[in-house]
Every structure is written in structure tokens, then in C-alpha cells.
């Protein structure tokens, strides 16, 4: 298998930069079902939700990058019934699944809003569940550790500086609280599902 053998450094290139999460989601979607650029962009929007700015042109660009790294493969397919044009349809390659697994295992930046984890949840496979549960707990822990770093309020102070410092602290804590709640709720849902529908 050519993909698993060569160029480990290059294989990781696609996981760098601001669009890494989008590329990861596209890999997951192609692995689930091959599709053309517009179809994949629509599925990405459906899966990630309106808070993500999914642009069809961006999707085409990212798909080309992924193909350039050998992680997906495009094929020109004849028009389907009723259609006029042939379509470029993206298919997984032998390396796609492995690349997705590598992305799932990648450590993510420590910013409170970890969109990467959100993206991973959107295309997770059954075998990723354990990684995600650990990642969610790890994330919850990191948010708690970040909360510790915020300088505490020293009590009542009547200055403007003290007021805006309090507002800044409130902003940080509100964001961290939302992230902790989300991580906790996601873990609870996965655990409850596993209890209700134990594997045969």
C-alpha cells in the first residue's frame, strides 16, 4: 500500500493550519460515502451546523489539497439519470481511514473553544468512540486547569480598572463553563446510549 508507506511528514501537512478541521470532516464524509464537491459541502454544512461558515468554493479547494496528498481520489463519473453533466466524484483511498484515525488522535490547541473536537464528533466512526470519550474528558480537564490560571477577584474595589478586570474574568469563565458543560453533556449522551443499546 503506497499510502501507508511513504511521506509521513507530508501526510501530516493537511492537519496543519486553520482549515485542518474542515479537511478532517471532508475526509470523514468521503469515507462514509463518496460524493461530488457540492454534495460534500452540503453534507458538511448539515453535519457541522450553521455556526461553521462552510463555503462551497472552500470545500473544492480543500478537496483538491486532500487529493494532492493522496488522501482522496477524484473520478469523472457519467451523469446520473436526469443529469446532463459528468461529475467529479471524490472517493476514499487506502490511506483515508488511517489518516482520519491519525486526525482523531491529534492533540488540539488549548483555546477554550475547541472547534476541532466539534468537527471530530461530527464524523466520528464507531471505533473512534473511545478516543472521543477520552478527548472529551481531557478537554474538560484542560478547561478546569485554565480556570485556575485566571487571577482571582480580590474583593470589592471601586475603580474602573477593577470593574473591567471583573468583566474580563466573567468572559473567560463563561466561555470555560460552556465548554465544560458541553464536554460533560456529550460524554453523558454517549454513555447513556451505550447503556441503553449495549453491543451484541
Amino acid at each position: 500500500m503506497a499510502g501507508s508507506r511513504a511521506k509521513p511528514q507530508q501526510q501530516r501537512e493537511w492537519m496543519r493550519g486553520g482549515s485542518a478541521s474542515m479537511r478532517g470532516v471532508l475526509l470523514g464524509l468521503v469515507l462514509e460515502r463518496p460524493g461530488h464537491g457540492g454534495d460534500l459541502a452540503n453534507r458538511m454544512l448539515m453535519r457541522l451546523g450553521e455556526t461553521w461558515r462552510v463555503d462551497t468554493n472552500d470545500a473544492y479547494r480543500l478537496l483538491e489539497q486532500l487529493e494532492g496528498e493522496g488522501l482522496i481520489q477524484s473520478r469523472l463519473e457519467p451523469p446520473k439519470s436526469g443529469g446532463r453533466r459528468a461529475m467529479i466524484v471524490y472517493h476514499p483511498t487506502p490511506t483515508t481511514s488511517q489518516a482520519l484515525t491519525m486526525w482523531m488522535e491529534t492533540l488540539l490547541p488549548r483555546e477554550p473553544v475547541r472547534l476541532g473536537l466539534h468537527a471530530k464528533l461530527a464524523v466520528a466512526r464507531a471505533e473512534d468512540a473511545q478516543r472521543l470519550l477520552l478527548a472529551l474528558r481531557d478537554y474538560e480537564q484542560k478547561c478546569l486547569a485554565l480556570a485556575k490560571l485566571v487571577t482571582p477577584n480580590g474583593g470589592p474595589q471601586a475603580s474602573w480598572q477593577a470593574l473591567f478586570m471583573d468583566c474580563t474574568r466573567e468572559a473567560v469563565y463563561t466561555q470555560l463553563r460552556a465548554e465544560i458543560d458541553w464536554a460533560a453533556a456529550a460524554r453523558q449522551r454517549i454513555a447513556e446510549h451505550a447503556r441503553r443499546y449495549p453491543p451484541r
Binding site: 470519550l133 478546569l144 485556575k148 471583573d166 466573567e170 454517549i190 454513555a191
Partner: protein
């Protein structure tokens, strides 16, 4: 730092119709001597249950709760009562029950009565402790049953610290919508504990209120997750059972 309280493999469930609602499974946490541990969790996540178990007031279904080497889960009621009058102070603002007609200072002095003090000594001590939490002379002499919610909190904290315990356990202490008042009460709480080297275990559904604590612990999915990493080392109990159906949960 020496561990004061160690909770391990904690299990707790409540009856619910024919079944049971599980609050904790294999949960673990520690409180080091003199450290301030803040427990964050949403409403009904099990904060109050955890704190009552930590203080020896409620027994868990399984696991171990050790305070200063004493196993609280098997200790006699007399031993637990003695601990709660000396080494552990448990504060729940909902438990405010002053006798009618007594002043704030008298209320606090009465609770100090068992400490071998004369009435005069207990009253002087009560006034000092009230002053430390920001309750001045005129409020100390006012009727205890007419206190505002904030002042009740202050008096209950004064009562908890007056016994010079090693661990103060506080269940969601602030009943106010004022953020400044909330921060003030927490600042007093942290400062008193720091000055006297007393460990704190405080639960709140407001993460911001816990700012400045040494350790943050969150309750989620029947586990305790700690900012210190080593507090929860047990594996997630459902992992081994997850299989093909997990995909449905994630899609």
C-alpha cells in the same frame, strides 16, 4: 502536601421508581491540607450529595472516604458527630434555623457553648468571628431570624470557622443575584481559610464564583474530573462496552 480527605471508587445511586439513578460510579478526588477545592456542576449533578458524603453526613453505596486517616463510611454515628463538631465544618445555607428571639451574636455564642467556654467568653468569641466575616456590632445584636440571605451566609461561615476545623465544606454558599456580593463572600471565605490554614471544599453551579481556588473539580457523567489530572485516574466505565451502536450516538 499531605492529603486531608481522600475519596476513591465512590459509588452512589438513588431509588427511582423500579430502577435507580446512578450519581457516581468509581469517582475519586482528594483534598490536600490547607488547599481550596471548588466543585463545579450543573443543578442536580450530585454536588450536594458529594459534599454530604465528603463531610460524613451521608454514606455512599460503595468506595472509601478517608478523612485524616479515619474511614468515614464505617465510622460510628458518635465518631462522625464528634468529627463534625471539631475537625469538619459543614455549611449549607438552606439549614439556617435560629431560635426565635435570639440575636445573631447569641446564636453564634450558643453554637460555641460546647467548646468549654463560659457564656461571656463565647459571646466575645462570637463577636470576633462575626467581625472577621464582615458582620459589625449593630448587625451582631439584631434578631437572627430577620437577617438578609447574604448576612445569613456570613454568619454561617463565621459559625463554621469558629470551631477551627481542618476542613470547611460549603454547599453553594451564595444566595444573591449581586455579583459583587457573591465575589465578596467568596473572597472572605478564601481569606479566612488561607489565614488559618483550613482546607476548603466548596460546591457551586457558578464557575466564576470559584475563581482563585487551588483545584477545580467538575462532576459529569458520574465521574469527578479534576484540574489536577491525578484526581480522577479511573477509566471511563462505559468505554469497554461501546461498540457498533456508538456510531448512532455520534451521528
Amino acid at each position: 502536601m499531605r492529603q486531608l480527605l481522600q475519596i476513591s471508587d465512590l459509588g452512589k445511586a438513588y431509588p427511582d421508581g423500579d430502577g435507580r439513578i446512578s450519581l457516581f460510579e468509581h469517582a475519586a478526588m482528594e483534598v490536600a491540607e490547607g488547599s481550596h477545592v471548588g466543585v463545579y456542576g450543573r443543578r442536580h449533578s450530585g454536588k450536594s450529595t458529594l459534599l454530604r458524603i465528603a463531610a460524613g453526613i451521608e454514606r455512599p453505596d460503595g468506595g472509601s472516604v478517608r478523612f485524616e486517616g479515619v474511614e468515614l463510611t464505617t465510622a460510628s454515628p458518635a465518631r462522625l458527630a464528634l468529627l463534625l463538631r471539631s475537625r469538619i465544618a459543614y455549611v449549607s445555607v438552606a439549614d439556617w434555623r435560629p431560635n426565635s428571639g435570639e440575636s445573631v451574636a447569641q446564636h453564634l455564642a450558643l453554637s460555641l457553648g460546647g467548646a468549654g467556654l463560659t457564656v461571656g467568653q463565647a459571646e466575645r468569641r462570637a463577636l470576633r468571628e462575626l467581625d472577621a466575616v464582615g458582620v459589625g456590632g449593630s448587625e451582631a445584636n439584631s434578631a437572627a431570624c430577620r437577617l438578609s440571605l447574604m448576612d445569613r451566609t456570613r454568619v454561617m461561615l463565621a459559625r463554621a470557622f469558629a470551631h477551627t476545623p481542618r476542613l470547611v465544606v460549603v454547599d453553594d454558599p451564595v444566595l444573591t443575584s449581586s455579583l459583587n456580593e457573591r465575589d465578596h463572600v467568596y473572597a472572605v471565605l478564601r481569606e479566612l481559610a488561607r489565614e488559618r490554614g483550613i482546607a476548603l471544599l466548596v460546591a457551586s453551579e457558578d464557575l466564576t464564583a470559584l475563581q482563585g481556588f487551588d483545584v477545580f473539580v467538575s462532576i459529569s457523567s458520574r465521574e469527578l474530573c479534576s484540574s489536577e489530572g491525578n484526581a480522577t485516574v479511573v477509566p471511563f466505565p462505559a468505554i469497554a462496552r461501546l461498540g457498533g451502536s456508538a456510531r448512532d450516538a455520534l451521528s
